[in-house]
C-alpha cells in the first residue's frame, strides 16, 4: 500500500494534511485501519476543544479493539466529520480519503516536525518485527 507523499504522519498512526484554508485535517492511516478491522464507532473531540500535540482526543473502535486517536498538532478543533457517526467504515474503505476532525493549528513548525512518508514507512516496518 503506498503511503501518500503529501501527508505527514505520527508514530501513533495518524496522518495530517494542511488544507488551503490553513486548517489541518487529521485521520488514521491505512495501516492502522487494517490492524483494527471493520470500524463500528468513532468518537470525535468536541468542536472548540483546544488540543496539545500528542494529546488523546478521540477513539476509533472496531469489533476487535478500541484505539485512541492522538492529535498530531496543537490547536483548536474546528470541524468533525459527521459522516462517521453513521458510516465509520468509510475509514476502512479509504483511510487517506476520510478525515476525522480538523484543527486550526497554532504552530506551523509542529506540522513540519512530523514524519514524512518514508519516515512513517520505516516505523511500520520496524513494528512488523
Amino acid at each position: 500500500m503506498s503511503i501518500p507523499a503529501d501527508l505527514r504522519y505520527t508514530d501513533t498512526h495518524e496522518w495530517a494534511r494542511l488544507e488551503s484554508d490553513g486548517t489541518v485535517s487529521v485521520g488514521i492511516t491505512h495501516h492502522a485501519q487494517n490492524l483494527l478491522g471493520d470500524l463500528v464507532f468513532v468518537e470525535n473531540p468536541q468542536i472548540g476543544r483546544k488540543l496539545r500535540k500528542g494529546e488523546e482526543c478521540g477513539v476509533v473502535e472496531s469489533v476487535k479493539a478500541a484505539s485512541d486517536i492522538y492529535s498530531p498538532v496543537s490547536g483548536e478543533v474546528v470541524a468533525v466529520n459527521a459522516e462517521l457517526e453513521r458510516a465509520p467504515q468509510k475509514i476502512n474503505e479509504g483511510a487517506y480519503d476520510t478525515w476525522i476532525f480538523r484543527i486550526k493549528p497554532v504552530d506551523s513548525a509542529e506540522l513540519a516536525a512530523l514524519l514524512d512518508a518514508p519516515g512513517y514507512r520505516k516505523i511500520i516496518e520496524a513494528q512488523a518485527h
Binding site: 478491522g37 471493520d38 463500528v40 464507532f41 473502535e61 469489533v63 476487535k64
Partner: protein, 364 residues
C-alpha cells in the same frame, strides 16, 4: 515457541489472503477482508466456516452409553433416533464446566462427540481417565482424519446440495439437530450461528475440493471474527469466556441443558444439587454508543456483575453482551457498564438476541 496447528484448509485461507490469528493454538482465519460483511452474508444468504480445529471423537461399545450417561450433564437417553444430537456440558466433581459439546447418537452403541479445539487435550485426558475407571470396554477414538465445514444461512442447505448433489438424498429430510451419514461423510443440521444450515464432517483429503465447490455454488468463506458476532447474537456460549471450570452451567445460562430430573447420577450432579447458583447469565444491550467487551464491570441495583462476552452486533447495529450478574437482577432493568473509564447505560434482556435473521430484542 510451539508452531501453531493448521487444518486441511489452511493453504486455501492463506491463498485467499485471510487475516490469520492464533486460536487455541491453531492458525485460523479471522476474516477474509471484512468481518462485518461476512456476518451479514450468513444472516442473509450462506457462509461457510472451517471448523476442522474442533475435535471429533467416536465413542463405541456396549459401555459407550453408560460412559456418556455418567459424564454428561444432559441425558443421552433422550437420543433414541440414529443421528439425533444433544448439546451438553461435561462437568467436574464440583459442578464446574470442563467443556461444552454436541453428541450424536449414530446407532448401534456408537456415539460421536464434537468438542472445542482449545480443550481437546484436556477432554481426551478426562475421558480416558473416566473410561479406564468406569467403562473399560468403551472405545474412544479421536477422528483427526476428518475435516469439518459449517455452512450456515437461509440458503445454506440449498447451496450445499448445489455444491455436492449426492448429499441431498440423505440430508434433505433432516430435522433440526439431527445428522445422517452420507457415505463417508456426516451431515448434521446443527450450527453455531442461529441460522439454518449444516455442519459437515468429511474425509480431510476431500476438504479443499468441497470448499471450492461450495464457493462456486455461492457460499462465502467466513472467518472466526464473524463466527463470534454471529454466535453472540444467537445467545450461544463460548467456552473459556462465558464459562469455565470455576462456574456451573446453572450460573452460565445453561440450566435447560442440565438434566436434574431423572434419577441418573452424573459427575457434578451432587455439587449442583447441594449449592444454589451464585449468579445468573443475562443479555445486555448497550443504550449508548460504544462497544461492550469481556471483563467490563456491570453495576446493578443488586450488586456488581461482569461481562463475559461482548461485541458489536452487526444485525442489531448496537453493542450487545452476555453478563454474569447477581441472581436478584431482573430482565429489562437499566444497569451501568464501566466502559473505558465511563459509565454507560445498558438494558438487561433475555437472550438470544437474533434467530433466523430476526431481531428478537424488542426496541424498548
Amino acid at each position: 515457541m510451539t508452531p501453531m496447528k493448521r487444518t486441511p484448509l489452511f493453504e486455501i485461507h492463506r491463498a485467499m489472503g485471510a487475516r490469520l490469528v492464533d486460536f487455541g493454538g491453531w492458525e485460523m482465519p479471522l476474516h477474509y477482508g471484512s468481518q462485518l460483511e461476512e456476518h451479514h452474508l450468513v444472516r442473509r444468504d450462506a457462509g461457510m466456516f472451517d471448523v476442522s480445529h474442533m475435535l471429533v471423537l467416536d465413542i463405541e461399545g456396549d459401555q459407550a452409553k453408560p460412559l456418556l450417561l455418567a459424564l454428561l450433564a444432559n441425558n443421552v437417553e433422550r437420543l433414541k433416533e440414529p443421528g439425533k444430537a444433544l448439546y451438553s456440558c461435561m462437568l467436574n466433581e464440583d459442578g464446574g464446566v470442563i467443556d461444552d459439546l454436541i453428541v450424536y447418537f449414530l446407532g448401534e452403541a456408537r456415539y460421536r462427540m464434537v468438542v472445542n479445539a482449545g480443550t481437546a487435550d484436556k477432554d481426551l485426558a478426562w475421558l480416558e481417565a473416566q473410561r479406564a475407571q468406569i467403562a473399560p470396554r468403551a472405545r474412544v477414538a479421536p477422528r483427526r482424519d476428518l475435516a469439518m465445514i459449517a455452512i450456515q444461512g437461509p440458503n445454506a442447505r440449498e447451496k450445499t446440495w448445489r455444491a455436492k448433489p449426492d448429499l441431498k438424498p440423505c440430508s434433505e429430510e433432516l430435522g433440526v439437530f439431527i445428522g445422517a451419514a452420507c457415505g463417508d461423510w456426516f451431515v448434521a443440521r446443527t450450527g453455531y450461528t442461529g441460522e439454518d444450515g449444516f455442519e459437515i464432517m468429511l474425509p480431510a483429503g476431500l476438504a479443499e475440493a468441497f470448499w471450492g465447490a461450495a464457493r462456486a455454488a455461492g457460499v462465502a468463506p467466513v472467518g472466526l471474527g464473524a463466527r463470534d458476532t454471529l454466535r453472540l447474537e444467537a445467545g450461544m456460549n463460548l467456552y473459556g469466556q462465558d464459562m469455565d471450570e470455576s462456574v456451573t452451567p446453572l450460573e452460565s445460562g445453561l440450566a435447560s441443558t442440565v438434566d436434574l430430573v431423572s434419577p441418573r447420577d452424573f459427575v457434578g450432579k451432587q455439587a449442583l444439587l447441594k449449592r444454589a447458583p451464585r449468579a445468573q447469565m443475562l443479555g445486555l444491550v448497550l443504550l449508548e454508543r460504544g462497544v461492550l467487551r469481556a471483563h467490563q464491570k456491570v453495576i446493578t441495583a443488586s450488586g456488581q456483575g461482569t461481562i463475559t462476552s461482548g461485541s458489536f452486533s452487526p444485525t442489531l447495529n448496537t453493542s450487545i453482551a452476555l453478563a454474569r450478574v447477581p441472581v436478584a437482577v431482573g430482565e429489562r432493568e437499566t444497569v451501568k457498564v464501566e466502559v473505558r473509564e465511563r459509565l454507560l447505560k445498558a438494558r438487561t434482556v433475555k437472550y438470544p438476541f437474533v434467530r433466523r435473521g430476526r431481531n428478537l430484542v424488542a426496541a424498548d
